[in-house]
Each structure stands twice: as structure tokens, then as C-alpha cells.
């Protein structure tokens, strides 16, 4: 792996590592999430959008979108005033903008459901969900947007959930997008 910049922070229940540069070779067991966009920039998404990991497993986001910058930012009041949608005793993270080819990693230690978003692309529905361990599930997490976030049950069942391309899912995302634009 070639790394031109690296920073690692250990704060309570989360470990952060920002990596910039060209990465190659072993992934070291990290769970990978790609940041993607289509050719004209009209559509952006995380792939997978839902991921189940074990406590202490590293998750790494890499920007594979040649024409845009993206972030992986935890839903938390520290970040653009968003509501907390993560375990209360976990520490929020923000990757800052990642250019094409750049990566950012966190290691989540506290079991629970973590929702995150891309700062410039939340209105476009670029959000994701990570389930750490096997937390008790009691209905949708606060602030859930069905059709935009995969359900916790589906993530636990399938391990990794890619964005749905069904007509119903596309319609729900379009409705969410329009509501975000005109609100």
C-alpha cells in the first residue's frame, strides 16, 4: 500500500484513520465501502449502502467517483447539526472531503446501528448504515427513511446490502430527493 498521508486517532469507542493516495494490495481485512457516482454526476451512492461488521472490525471508504468529492460523516449534532443516529457512547466521525482514489477508515467498537451521510450529497440520498455486532432491534431507528436506508433486519440477514434498483425503491428515493430539494 502506498500512503502519502495518514492520521490515526483513538477516541473512546472509535478509531479513525485517514488515508490519502493510491492504495493497492491487501485490504488487511477491512470491510470496504465504495463511494460512487454516475458519469454526469446526477446520481451518487455508497456501495454497499448497508453493512454488518463485528465490533473492532475496520471499515474503509474509498472514493471511486472520478468526478466528485465525497465524505463519510456520522449523523451527530457535531456534524451540520444532524440528529444523533448512533450509539450514545460511541464517538462520531467525519472523513472530510475525499478526492478520487482517497480513503478513510474507522474501527467501531461499540455495538449498535450507525447511520452516516455524504455532506454535499445527503439531499441526493447518499446515506448509509452500518450495524456493529448484534444489537437488539426494536423497530426502525429514529429518523429512519424507508427506501433510503436499508432496514437493520435486512443488513443483519444479508451482511452486505447494495442499493436496491427496484421500481419501488427508485420511486421512494426520487420522492425523498424532490422533498429534500424543495423543503
Amino acid at each position: 500500500m502506498i500512503v502519502t498521508r495518514r492520521r490515526v486517532l483513538r477516541i473512546g469507542g472509535v478509531v479513525l484513520a485517514g488515508l490519502a493516495g493510491t492504495a493497492s494490495g491487501s485490504t488487511g481485512g477491512a470491510a470496504e465501502i465504495a463511494m460512487r457516482g454516475n458519469e454526469d454526476g446526477s446520481d451518487v451512492w455508497y456501495d454497499p449502502v448497508g453493512l454488518h461488521v463485528r465490533p473492532g472490525q475496520t471499515i474503509r471508504w474509498t472514493n471511486h467517483d472520478a468526478g466528485n468529492a465525497h465524505t463519510a460523516t456520522a449523523y451527530h449534532p457535531h456534524h451540520a447539526g444532524r440528529p444523533a443516529r448512533m450509539p450514545p457512547d460511541a464517538v462520531p466521525w467525519d472523513s472530510d472531503y475525499l478526492l478520487p482514489g482517497e480513503s478513510f477508515a474507522v474501527t467501531l467498537l461499540v455495538e449498535g446501528v450507525y447511520d452516516y451521510f455524504c455532506l454535499p450529497h445527503e439531499p441526493a440520498g447518499m446515506v448509509g448504515r452500518i450495524v456493529v455486532g448484534s444489537p437488539p432491534v426494536a423497530g426502525p431507528p429514529p429518523g429512519d427513511v424507508p427506501g433510503v436506508f436499508p432496514s437493520v433486519e435486512q443488513i443483519l440477514r444479508e451482511g452486505s446490502v447494495r442499493r436496491s434498483r427496484t421500481a419501488a425503491a427508485l420511486r421512494r428515493r426520487r420522492e425523498h430527493f424532490v422533498a429534500s430539494c424543495i423543503s
Binding site: S42, N68, C181
Partner: protein
Amino acid sequence: MRTSLAVLALASLFASPVLAADGVAKAPPEGEYRKVSELVKLPDFLPGLGQLYVDPATLPAGPFLAYDHDGSLVSTIYMLPVADLTNKDKRFDDLAAPGGAVDHVDVYLNAGHPGVEMPHTHVVLWHVPAADEVRVAK
């Protein structure tokens, strides 16, 4: 003879393409334009658009001036937030258009990016033929 020359001169005037204003045909453009990748964290060359310059005072609409790898102007782009386009009280008037003759126009949605974070519409005035869009394809 004099009349013929005058007609010829007039005809040639109208037949000439409208040239880009002085100072914007080649990168970097003169005036208050700044390279977008130096204003916000974005790739220096955006596939499909090229290398962008904008006067920060005109954000978010622009115009953005887009250049190919040789530094030649290929398009002028306006970025119009979707929320503004659905707001009857919002208008975009008298946007500058320094790029000269327009060959064709593309209009499409963009999900947002640093600098213009909200979903918006790209209105692209191409100053080159469609076949030459490949100059900024990647």
C-alpha cells in the same frame, strides 16, 4: 464597386463566428476567475466538464468556464439549484456569457459537489461541436 465591398464586408461580419471575449479563450481566464479546484476540494479536471474556473462572487450560478487539457475554452456552465428553479420568487437574470458562439446546449441534473452542494441543474453552453466534447471526456 464601393457598394459591393461594403456588402461583402457586412456579409463577412455576420458570417464570422462570435469570438470569445478577450481573456477567456485560453486558461487561465483573466479577471476575477479562480480555478475551482483551488477554491474547494474537487479534482482539477472533471471528466465530462474539464478544468473549471469561476468568479466566486457569482456562485452558485456562475458562469463556470471549462477548459480542455490544452487550456482551450470548450464550454460555459451555469449551475442552478433545483430549489431555486422551483421558487417563483427566484430568478437568474443577466448571467454573464463571455464564452462567445454557442454550438449546442446540454441541460442535466447534478447531485451536488463541493462549491455547489445542493442538487442543481447544469446548463452547458458548448462552444465546440458535439464531436469535440471528447476533449474533456476524461
